[in-house]
Symmetry: C2
Subunit: 149 residues, 2 copies
Amino acid sequence: MSPATARQWLATALAEARAGLAEGGVPIGAALYAADGTLLGRGHNRRVQDGDPSAHAETAAFRAAGRQRSYRGTTMVTTLSPCWYCSGLVRQFGISRVVIGEAETFRGGHEWLAGLGVEIVLLDDPECVTLMREFIAERPELWHEDIGE
Amino acid sequence: MSPATARQWLATALAEARAGLAEGGVPIGAALYAADGTLLGRGHNRRVQDGDPSAHAETAAFRAAGRQRSYRGTTMVTTLSPCWYCSGLVRQFGISRVVIGEAETFRGGHEWLAGLGVEIVLLDDPECVTLMREFIAERPELWHEDIGE
């Protein structure tokens, strides 16, 4: 994929993360794109907003995309390295590619996915890093709850 | 854990699976129990009912349990070997034990979890096997959609 497309798709996920922060939630956003670039679904972590611990950014985007016959060629874009729960989602449903804003503040299972043949695009985006760093500093207990630590 | 407790908890998951089948859905059920045996949440696959591909039995039970500070000592009981998505959930949140009705019709990530120190109790329950076998024979397209194949 072109770097411009990766950045453009990350902007969608980042807008979701900022919406989550504005709602008082965990600022992680994601979006699922089809092989042809169609946006299938977007979402953000909703632990606080819905009292729903299963609503991580990636699962929220996956849910918003509704039922799909196949995930071949799809790309999950997320502001943060996917945790094991979300990495398992990618593996089980055969999502082909994961575009990651950053993996500096948290490292999930993206290397495991790479080893399984999933294309990983790690962007090292400074805005994504700052967003998470400030959130973790301000709400460490909420962050640890969100990743089960 | 005692075999009697494992069977009793599996009965909760099996009741959920049957409720899902009666609703026209994928007949997989699960329940999350606390270390002291309190039922924290129960649920079943809701792909068909809610048009929600993220609602696997285990994630539905996890969601129903609401926000928890820790999953130490908890047990996820499920009628079927957890797929990679649900196995990732168990790993990320540190769920201590998984009780599985059967792993004959489908094998997910439970051996991976065992290797990571999660206690796995595999019951080889004939009712769970029959339920899935009949469902897969009747609705193969729905089953394959549910596991992304």
